[in-house]
């Protein structure tokens, strides 16, 4: 039973490709930081960080190929964090 679920093994090549993509996104984010985008600077930096995280979580951490329940955990924890952020900022901005 366990063996079947473990069977999706990712090859070396895929990992190396993801690594190259991660390095590419890093150089993009460093380059963009030098350019003034005004209020979008932070947004772009966080967007790139989110894309890099998605790559790490899906491929390096196998969440794409693992049990569905792990994905549920992750979405739940991400959602919890989002709610905490939104509630805190509501309190902070309208107090």
């Amino acid at each position: 039973m366990h063996e079947e679920k473990h069977n999706h093994h990712i090859g070396y090549g895929t990992y190396v490709l993801v690594w190259i993509a991660l390095l590419a996104f890093t150089s993009i984010t460093v380059t963009i930081a030098g350019v003034s985008l005004g209020r979008y600077t932070l947004f772009v930096a966080l967007l790139i960080a989110a894309i890099k995280s998605a790559l790490v979580i899906n491929i390096f951490m196998h969440i794409k190929f693992d049990e569905k329940i792990f994905k549920v955990f992750l979405l739940l924890s991400g959602f919890t964090l989002l709610v905490i952020f939104i509630l805190t900022f509501f309190d902070f901005l309208y107090r």
């Binding site: 679920k5 990992y15 951490m61 792990f70």
Partner: protein, 209 residues
Amino acid sequence: MSNHAESALEQSHVHRDDVGAKMGMWLFLFTELLLFGGLFLVYAVYRYQYPEQFHLAGMELNTGIGTLNTIILLTSSLTVALSIAAIQKKNKFLAVLMLSLTLTFALMFMVNKYFEWSAKFSHGIYPGSDELLSLPNGQILFFGLYYVMTGLHGLHVLIGIVILAIMLVLIIKDKITFDNYVKLENSGLYWHLVDLIWIFLFPLFYLIQ
């Protein structure tokens, strides 16, 4: 029957729940996410409150060393993933090599961190220093968060080094094998989390221009 085959046979009869082990790890990572999430929340609120001072203080940080450490951590994430792939393919040599590289990168990260913090200390910028306390509130908060967040992350790197070193020994001793590698997988998950947190720390602290 050779000794190796015998021990493999024995192991196949031992009750083991790899999915359960991984689920436990993911639950732990969930708590880690909320731990760092709380710190990111404090950062977000104060950055919103003191945008100019965060900007000024952020300029003090060394972008070069931050970028170098980003590359080092991303590469160490690759090598730990390759180490797991190698053990799945019964390539013990490659698994040991990749895990040793991961440890080397982790140590390099800490050495860079040491030089980075030493430089800050020699400029009189450390928690509670007269130099730091003479700065405006926003900058004190920025450096306070910088030391707490990168410090807590650095502590995670140190713990990761210990865990990965134990995994290396277990692989060498054939305690982690192609059909029993959940310990290595879980250590890998922990290491990737350390990498993930850095992915966000890096732009938020080092890339404020």
